[in-house]
Amino acid sequence: MKIFAMILITGILTQNFVLSRFLGICPFLGVSKKLGTATGMSIAVTLVMVLATAATYPINAALLVPRGLEYLQTVVFILVIAGLVQLLEVVLKRFVPPLYNALGIYLPLITTNCAVLGVVLLNLQAEYSYAQSLVNALGAGLGFLLAMVLFAGVRERLEGADIPKALKGLPATLAAASLVSMSFLGFAGIAENLFA
């Protein structure tokens, strides 16, 4: 049980996918303008991460590893993720049309969100079990959610701030992102010591 809690805390805080591993920066900068869409996007990404891990882990264990085809991982995983995102799109369009409209182009772009592929590949690299992989995917998704929500708040303040003209827009956003990222350095070592 302890190991699951540790994986979860690691994924959310110390090894935050966006702010510590710098994966999934595209939606982090693209959809973080408003808190509502940022939350919706993060939940969609979390869902895709967990589903992708649930689907790719058995494929890898049953089909690829026994035949020595590990080099196919990236191709096969992207294929599965793309299929899942398409499925999610159809489901959202049917059941949550407002969120579907708000996410727009960023919804199909989850396919190419490197955080999703990243969590799937890193799970295998860390040699997690199936359950541990799922918890890690959930932790990565929640970490993504935390980063998005925090940064959406920062950006909403940035809108009204008096910034030098040369830094307005993307430069200020990137500077703010680096500051938020630096603040996450403070969590280093917390997961190991919390459960020691």
């Binding site: 196919l72 299929g83 489901v91």
Partner: protein, 262 residues
């Protein structure tokens, strides 16, 4: 074998996903009303909102469900579109007279007094919050172009004298400008009919207006007396012309001492 097996694996996964997805999209398809699609194709697609719905798709949905009050709400599409909608829905519409927007102010910088100089955001709404704008006349055009920005057809211009004017040829009467003008200066008038209009909205007494603007209506009632059709009436110190009665004979234009009827 080294090539065949990986290809087979990837191919099989793709096939399973493909079949699964097409099955899902069939099962979970959002039912789209065919008539709604047809209606949407007829509408001009500018999403101006003049019909009162959230864009053309909203109006098409309301029409197909029978919730829309009328088939002739599309101002940009005018008579043409209304008739096509009516045909699709099997209802009848009367003739709709094409309208155009009209800015009811001629108080340019050389004509109307300014109370102060405005340095601030290029927005009439903002400027109107500061003592009602730079013009001394409480109904004067501020001239910062909120209506120009609101117009989806590029039909409005702020002329060099600082008053917005409408190009009737480009105007499709979507009312976008009517809604944004903080001074309520823009109204719709019939486009084709040869009518005249009073280009002033000031309801102050003549003596007051005279000090503020050279082209304001001073309510001298000469137009009211000269009109042979009884179309002009002066109420609240402002002349108003009833477009139903006006024939465009131009007698009031000739007699107006301040040239505020055109």
């Amino acid at each position: 074998m080294e090539i065949l097996l990986p290809s087979l694996i990837v191919g099989a996964i793709a096939l399973i996903l493909g079949v699964g997805l097409s099955f899902a999209s069939e099962k979970l398809a959002v039912p789209v009303d065919e008539r709604e699609e047809e209606l949407l194709a007829v509408l001009p697609g500018v999403n101006c909102g003049a019909c009162g719905y959230s864009g053309c798709a909203g109006y098409a949905a309301a029409l197909s469900k029978g919730e829309a009050e009328s088939a002739s709400l599309c101002a940009p599409g005018g008579d043409d579109v209304a008739r096509q909608i009516a045909e699709l829905l099997g209802v009848s519409v009367g003739h709709i007279a094409p309208m155009t927007a009209l800015v009811r102010c001629q108080g340019g910088e050389d004509v109307a007094k300014q109370s102060f100089i405005y340095y601030g955001m290029e927005s009439c709404r903002m400027a109107a919050q500061l003592a009602g704008g730079v013009k001394s006349c409480p109904n004067g055009c501020i001239g910062l172009g909120d209506c120009v920005k609101a117009c989806p057809y590029d039909a409005l211009r702020v002329c060099p004298d600082g008053v917005a004017r409408v190009d009737a040829l480009k105007c499709r009467a979507c009312k976008a400008c009517v809604a944004v003008c903080p001074k309520d200066l823009i109204t719709l008038v019939p486009k084709d009919a040869p009518t005249t209009a009073v280009l002033c909205r000031n309801t102050q007494k003549g003596a007051v207006i005279r000090k503020l603007c050279e082209k304001g209506c001073i309510a001298c009632k000469r137009c009211e007396k000269v009109c042979p059709h009884g179309a002009v009436s002066v109420t609240d110190f402002l002349a108003r012309i009833d477009p139903e009665k006006c024939t465009g004979c131009g007698k009031c234009v000739a007699v107006c001492p301040n040239g505020c009827i055109v």
